[in-house]
Amino acid sequence: MSIFKKIITALRGGASEAGEAIVDANATRIFAQEIRDAENHLTKAKRDLTDIMAKQMQAQRELDRINNSITEHEGYATSALNQGNEALALEVAEKIASLEVELSEQKQSFDRYNDNATRLKELVKNTERQLADHQRQLSMVQTTESVQKATAAITDNFNNSNSKLLDAKQSLERIKAKQQNFDDRLKASEQLADENSDQSLKNKLAEAGIGEAQSNASSVLDRLKAKQS
């Protein structure tokens, strides 16, 4: 069963409530060990690949050398033939023949290294992919377990502190109320600031004798006198 399926089955089955592990601890350990083994294999495969590729390069150089040598000797043989020196030409031709044998042997080992390198590259690629997949799966298990443990810690903490999680709507209402409070306070302080600046303007106007006339004793007396008459 895939890890994904295992986690879903365990969660749906309420394994988390019973505090059961999603995948038993031993299986997780074995899985982690498999990942370490795969990492070791990968390191070794990469080292082998480096060796093979080095040998492949050597073989390629050897092939080039023999090919050059053949071309060179073919030139010699042609020159010998042009000079009418059949015996020398034959001797060179024998040399070419032996070079060609060497070439085909070298070609075989080059092909062998080439095949090996291709196979190893494929292996490295597959192992890397598999390793990434294993790591992803292990991470799923570990995350699920970590979330369960975290949930247990959170629940314990709430139980111990005697505070309980409010229901969602209550929480929202309280937060909104606090926000409203905050907004109201902000508005109130803005109003206060406005009023203060209003007042200071009025004071300045009064000092300059502009605006509403201040009531004073003589003006009150004048008003009373006016009523009597």
Binding site: Q142, T143, K149, A150, A168, K169, L172
Partner: protein, 137 residues
């Protein structure tokens, strides 16, 4: 990255966070380290942060199965699945019988990224409860 680095960062931040929030964080002891992060003014909806080998998980609890109106439950679930992509940085999930909203970050994220994640997660959780209140009793 571990929860203590996150806690130190958030607690030293004070009112200097460019998210405009004031964070408070308290580690919770347990088999795994969990950090309870609250935003001042939003204490009712704390965010829980835990760090695993490869990711930082930030989780906010939304509501329990017992708060869901049975008659529109599947409609609610569908709405949640559909909102998963449009909702910035956060996704829906369920832990035991509680619906949650969460964000996961790489362990190589910066503390600033974590701070941003927490602010967005908190905004998202408020908005989700506000907008999906009709599905709740």
């Amino acid at each position: 990255m571990n929860i203590h680095q996150i806690a130190n960062h958030l607690n030293e931040l004070g009112d200097k966070s460019d998210t405009g929030f004031f964070f408070d964080s308290v580690p919770i002891a347990g088999e795994v380290d969990v950090l309870q992060v609250t935003i001042v003014g939003r204490e009712e909806l704390p965010i829980f942060v835990s760090v695993t080998d490869d990711q930082i998980l930030c989780i906010a609890y939304l509501w329990g199965e017992n708060e869901v109106k049975e008659s529109t439950r599947s409609e609610m679930l569908e709405a949640m699945v559909e909102m998963n992509i449009p909702m910035p940085l956060s996704s829906f999930s369920k832990i035991d019988d509680k619906y949650v909203i969460f964000g996961a970050l790489s362990v190589s994220s910066s503390l600033h990224d974590v701070e941003h994640e927490l602010a967005v997660l908190s905004d998202n959780s408020l908005e989700v409860i506000n907008e999906m209140g009709d599905y709740l009793v």
